[in-house]
Point group: C2
Chain length 166, copies 2
């Protein structure tokens, strides 16, 4: 499937329910990419240098939490096929343990709340809790996101008929 | 100053107080870098394609929120000189409006809470609220972070003397 965002397999607000789960593919945390990301956005010794990292609170080289977050987003984009894409308003993020070079990450997401918009009848906010695991099944990130999701447009819903059948 | 994390200008837990503010330098949101970041980590049409973005909820090309977050981290690393670096446990993030190509970002941070650790006497958690502004003074990100900060090691504090002056 090349067109990930085609309406044919996109999920609208109407298709979602609390407790629904989504499992992602995997993301490989390459050491060189990890260091380059840190050099660009989070240039701290424990993300860049093995010796400094050993002496730090991380006790070894650790990815920037924002690299873990970005990798998680990639996995979420591929595994949560919301219609119109995933526009996040924000959320709560936590990094219980660091991501290490060579780690293989995957994300499990669950819908924990659905809040229809009162001012915008065609959309709602979906609260999605996504946990990012490493290859040992340990959680490296927890992210509870508020995501805007749209209702299915009426004109494409062929099951909607007037009482007279027209 | 090449060594940003030398103890000479590093701030320890002892040096921090509620209400303390830090102002960052600036980060230019280059359009090509913005699209490349999105292609790697958040490949959604409204981050990649001008025409698709115009039709989207963003009404124009928007940076991935994670790019805004990563750029904010870069500005925080440069403007919050905590001793031992900035190791974040996580926090609450919100994107009130999108970052656009060509935007110039800056970050204002304020210490809003200081919580000494009960189990680890040499450290504490500092709650820092960082707001990322664009060149129009509009907020594009709010991030309230929990950051581990260390107390000044006793052996390097030359002002600590015994009552007899030794």
């Amino acid at each position: 499937m090349n067109q990930k965002f085609e309406a044919t397999d996109a999920l609208y607000l109407d298709d979602l329910r609390i407790g629904q789960r989504f499992t992602s593919g995997t993301y490989h945390m390459d050491e060189d990419r990890m260091k380059a990301f840190a050099a660009e956005f989070d240039p701290q010794p424990f993300h860049l240098d093995e010796v400094a990292a050993q002496r730090s609170i991380f006790r070894g080289l650790a990815a920037s939490g924002w690299h873990t977050a970005a990798a998680t987003m990639r996995l979420m984009v591929e595994s949560l096929p919301f219609a119109g894409g995933m526009a996040g308003l924000g959320g709560e993020i936590a990094w219980p343990r660091p991501t290490r070079p060579g780690d293989t990450l995957r994300v499990e997401s669950e819908i924990i709340e659905i809040v229809p918009s009162r001012s915008k009848p065609n959309q709602g906010i979906v609260i999605v809790r996504s946990t990012t695991f490493n290859q040992h099944g340990e959680d490296v990130q927890k992210f509870t996101a508020k995501i805007i999701v749209f209702k299915r447009p009426v004109e494409t819903n062929s099951l909607t008929m007037k009482p007279d059948g027209s």
